[in-house]
């Protein structure tokens, strides 16, 4: 009895400060913003209650759906690009040698540099006239592959995905690295003695052992990709003609540029709902896989 009481008081006292700050500064604003979504409000002056009209309008707007589609491309690119590369690198680079530390640090560095810098450099890579990519294609005799990488709406979402993947491998690399620290060397030694070859070792031992971390990384990937826009915004400004519009830019424009605060809030609530569905979906999928 005394045991459970102690447990209970520890849980309550331990969670209280974190939950207080969290509820106050995150959950309350989320609900508040969802509430603004029910109003026709410019952000200045009088607000008019219009029920679900904002939500209905967003769902009817083709640009909203395009932004969602673009976002899903980024989510897919992140999950299929960043995570496997980061996992592989974390396995290759998990030693403390100078070389490994150097490469690890280098891989992380695009993260510390401002998106403006990354955007400028990739802008020069994709530049329609002096772009490195097009010059390179021309020199190796693939002139027919030359494109307006950022201007052509049929490919520009893929063009912008590349730098997004490239610049954001770092966080997943360190998350995986720290998780791998947990796999004690005995396990690895045991695997060696068993004669498990590298590939098998990865699938049979590493992935199951850091499965929880992979799940978290996927959630981070989804949430990060749905919120991220700065890098893409630096490169294309969401254009041309809104072809690289993302949910976050769509929300931001409506809130702060077009003076439709209520509508922007509704879009932001929709972003949360959509992300939630994606996150839950991914977790359900992973639970099944994990059990196999």
């Amino acid at each position: 009895m005394a045991f459970t009481n102690r447990l209970r008081s520890f849980i309550i006292i331990g969670l209280l400060p974190a939950l207080t700050i969290y509820l106050l500064f995150v959950i309350v604003p989320i609900l508040w913003s969802a509430y603004y979504g029910f109003f026709d409000w410019k952000g200045i002056g009088a607000a008019r209650f219009i029920g679900l009209d904002n939500y209905a309008e967003a769902l009817k707007d083709p640009i909203f759906w395009r932004a969602l589609k673009n976002n899903l491309i980024i989510v897919a690119a992140s999950i299929l690009g960043q995570l496997p590369i980061a996992l592989l690198l974390s396995l290759i680079l998990r030693k403390s040698t100078l070389f490994h530390r150097f490469v690890r640090s280098a891989v992380f560095m695009p993260m510390v540099v401002s998106s403006i810098v990354i955007g400028l450099i990739w802008g020069y890579i994709y530049h329609p006239q002096i772009g490195i990519l097009n010059v390179l294609l021309e020199q190796i005799g693939l002139s027919s592959w030359i494109r307006d990488w950022l201007g052509d709406p049929s490919i520009n979402m893929y063009s912008v995905s590349a730098p997004v993947i490239w610049a954001n491998i770092g966080p997943y690399l360190i998350i995986f690295l720290s998780a791998i620290q947990n796999i004690s060397s005995d396990v690895e030694e045991a695997a060696k003695i068993d004669g498990a070859i590298k590939g098998k070792w990865l699938y049979l031992i590493v992935i199951p052992m850091i499965w929880d971390t992979i799940k978290v990384a996927i959630v981070l990937c989804i949430s990060g990709s749905l919120k991220a826009f700065d890098l893409i915004f630096v490169m294309t400004g969401g254009g041309p003609a809104q072809s690289t519009e993302l949910l976050a830019t769509y929300m931001y424009n409506n809130t702060f540029e077009i003076y439709r605060y209520g509508y922007g809030s509704a879009v932001s609530t929709l972003i949360i709902i959509i992300s939630m569905i994606l996150v839950l979906g991914s977790q359900v999928l992973m639970r099944k896989r994990g059990m196999e």
């Binding site: 520890f10 974190a18 560095m109 947990n182 971390t213 939630m276």
Partner: protein, 293 residues
């Protein structure tokens, strides 16, 4: 028992030809990794080089070295952007937010990952929610909220939201890390007469160092670079943080890149230091594991 770093174990049983093959493959791998590293390092290098250029050169020859190294870009940026004070403010805000995030995050992660109680699922759900919200939509509610709390225009108006928004990631990363640690550890500690707080400080915190280091790097980056909150919640010039100084050099139609790049170069240094510092901590877990082995 003495343990050698696993990958380095020499394979004595392999025959000569496959050893040569291995040797070649490992050299190829090293070469590839080196090339990859240089490519990812390039933006940083480019930033530093550009920060010494004039505006003409910045646009005219973006990939060349500066013909004259303009060191005064730094002094001018420092002065006009008020970087000295902003830098100090950023350090204070980022460090305090980090300490708070780590303490609360680790504690919460310990509770949700190792203990059983009724509302655990619900609490985890709440934390997921916080990761999904686009922060720009919280600006107005947070502004009004903090005004009524009377903390607007203080360090707390940045520290508390920063911590709150970083908590989910901290909790998830640390909790995921802790779930793979065998439970026998704290059962043993319990028998040794430690209370829950004792277990937390003596067992969990040292154990979670690699995950905490990861959270530190990610959190620091976010706090250090945040523009939206710093823009809106701080009014007093004396409390302004660094990201505001970085965007000062624009008139809305064009940007003075020589000054912007110089200011960014200054701002990027602490994040590199923090990264290098905590990267070693991430690897600490390995050392501990090796000793145990």
């Amino acid at each position: 028992m003495k343990t050698i770093a696993p990958g380095r174990v020499p394979k004595t049983t392999t025959n000569t030809s496959s050893r040569v093959l291995n040797f070649r493959a490992s050299w190829l791998l090293h070469l590839f990794l080196l090339a990859y590293a240089l490519v990812t390092l390039y933006p940083l290098l480019w930033l530093f080089i550009s920060s010494f250029k004039s505006n003409q050169e910045f646009f005219g020859s973006p990939f060349a070295l500066p013909s004259v190294w303009q060191f005064e870009n730094y002094t001018r940026a420092w002065e006009i952007g008020g970087i000295g004070k902003a830098f100090l403010n950023s350090v204070i805000v980022s460090v305090l937010s980090l300490v708070l995030t780590l303490f609360l995050g680790t504690l919460t992660a310990f509770i949700v990952s190792r203990l059983n109680f009724r509302f655990k699922g619900f609490i985890m759900m709440l934390f997921v929610l916080g990761m999904l919200i686009p922060i720009h939509s919280t600006l107005v509610p947070l502004f009004i909220l903090m005004k009524s709390l009377g903390i607007l225009d203080t360090y707390a108006s940045l520290i508390l939201p920063y911590t709150a928004f970083e908590l989910p990631i901290a909790v998830f990363v640390i909790a995921a890390y802790l779930t793979s640690v065998p439970k026998e550890l704290e059962e043993a500690a319990m028998i040794d007469g430690n209370g829950y707080w004792g277990i937390f400080y003596r067992i969990i915190v040292p154990l979670a160092v690699p995950a905490m280091a990861t959270v530190s790097i990610l959190g620091f980056l976010r706090f250090w670079n945040d523009f939206a909150f710093a823009l809106v919640f701080i009014n007093k010039q004396a409390l302004k943080t660094l990201p505001l100084s970085l965007s000062m050099f624009s008139d809305g139609y064009g940007t003075d890149y020589s000054l912007t790049m110089a200011a960014m170069s200054i701002a990027v240094i602490p994040t590199i230091i923090i990264y290098l510092l905590f990267q070693n901590q991430i690897m600490k877990g390995m050392v501990a594991g090796a000793v145990k082995g």
